[in-house]
Symmetry: C2
Subunit: 243 residues, 2 copies
DNA sequence: AACGGTACCAAGCAAGCGCTTGGTTATCAA
DNA sequence: TTGATAACCAAGCGCTTGCTTGGTACCGTT
């Protein structure tokens, strides 16, 4: 064991105090349903009272939110239940008062994240009327989710997928299918001869390109903006020959 | 503790004998430089004698190949050194005769995988003369690597990236940059007005779309072939208005 | 005042983890 | 024949992990 200050495992968290010590809780804020705009806030409230996601201010909501943040930063396997407990401000054993085990916690996060993302995208689509604007809205919606502007924990759906047992994968998949149905419906309304014809294939290639932006696009940077990124991504499945 | 036969952690490996037992080696075959065609075989041989990758039939090459397979299937964190040792056919402690620690093993895999992929793509590009054929060759090359037809362990580069320490990330990145330079060079030779103008942005979106195919495309399926998938992916950054 | 439920603490167990140590065997050049 | 080196075994150490157990404080109802 080295006593270096650098973080050997690249968790992004360099402890300033790693001497042996008892568990100590910290403070905690935020959750999956942490809204950035007024519209999102009302959307979250509706989902909470519908029972689709847990209250961000309740104990379970805080737990899920903290775990989501850590899973996104360090990954499921490299995040310990003690890490999560410290982020919430409780002791590690208390976690299992709210969830059966660590994997069920991941499953709960994925379910709630999917539900919120789905509701947000449905709302964004209905705000537009023209097919092209609808597709652009979907892309923007997805980019906002990926880059933490609206749906905290969204990238977990891709990166930590295989950490779920097949049974839990099936549960999340059932929820996810409705999400992708929205995409498909929007892509089907493209005019003919605008690149990739098959809507299903177009959806898969486009979603792949978008989710990969998580690895390189910095929304804070002043070079490429999210708006122009969305427009360029649109060109991928909608050639510009038609207006 | 459950005694079920199902694999709770979804490792894909359900042991038929999980009673407490001493470590027992198994048999082992293959490595990173496991070629599928005659051309690939000579390419691997050249890289081996150049010292760029280790001999697939040597002890170190077998270790790297076995670890690459397991890291790809179960992920770095969920693969134990005992798993790797069993796959090679040695005991767990013997691993550290060849590498300093587990992370250095991952780093070695990524370096060798990158070098092989780079050499393969450079060869594929030089086999073509027209810009469009060159880009299609790159796409095909990437797809073959992703789906295990040419460069075993290739998807690890994406999925296990953050398991590396910053120092090791820098090492792999240095090798990776030459790989992406090939892409950029090919994309710069596109005619104007064929969709996304910026070659760098086109490369990022295209590579994202391709790497995501790992999650859904089944090259064995008799629906979509890899050839038509490559052609459709090409449309993403090369609109069909020009021949 | 008694009660039941929620939310949590305090302590620790059993198992599994990466890795070390000291020794054994096979190979091959001098 | 000797000796250096590579490849591996056998055993286990020290630590971390997910999770359990038994108990306590607080809350709103009745």
């Amino acid at each position: 064991m080295s006593t270096d200050a650098i973080d050997v495992k690249n968790t992004g968290v360099t402890s300033s105090n790693n001497k042996p010590q008892k568990e100590k809780p910290a403070r905690a804020v935020g959750s999956v349903g942490q809204a950035k705009s007024a519209e999102d806030a009302t959307l979250v409230r509706a989902l909470v009272s519908a029972g689709s996601i847990s209250d961000p201010d309740g104990p379970r909501g805080r737990l899920i939110g903290a775990a989501a943040r850590l899973f996104q930063d360090k990954g499921f396997a490299l995040t310990t239940v003690r890490d999560i407990a410290a982020e919430v401000g409780i002791l590690s054993g208390s976690i299992f008062h709210h969830v059966k085990n660590k994997e069920e916690l991941l499953c709960a996060i994925m379910l709630e994240v999917t539900r919120l993302a789905k509701a947000r995208m449905a709302a964004a689509v209905e705000r537009q009327t023209h097919p092209r604007d609808r597709l652009l809205a979907c892309i923007t919606c997805e980019l906002e989710a990926i880059h933490g502007l609206a749906v905290p924990g969204f990238p977990i759906l891709v990166t930590e997928w295989r950490c779920l047992s097949p049974a839990n994968q099936a549960k999340v998949l059932a929820e996810r299918e409705q999400y992708e149905a929205i995409w498909l419906q929007v892509l089907e309304q493209r005019p003919p001869d605008c690149g990739i014809a098959d809507p299903q294939l177009a959806r898969r290639l486009l979603l792949g390109a978008l989710s990969h932006t998580h690895n390189w696009f910095k929304p804070r940077g002043r070079g490429l903006t999210m708006k122009t990124l969305a427009e360029q991504a649109l060109l991928t499945v909608w050639s510009n020959s038609h207006h």
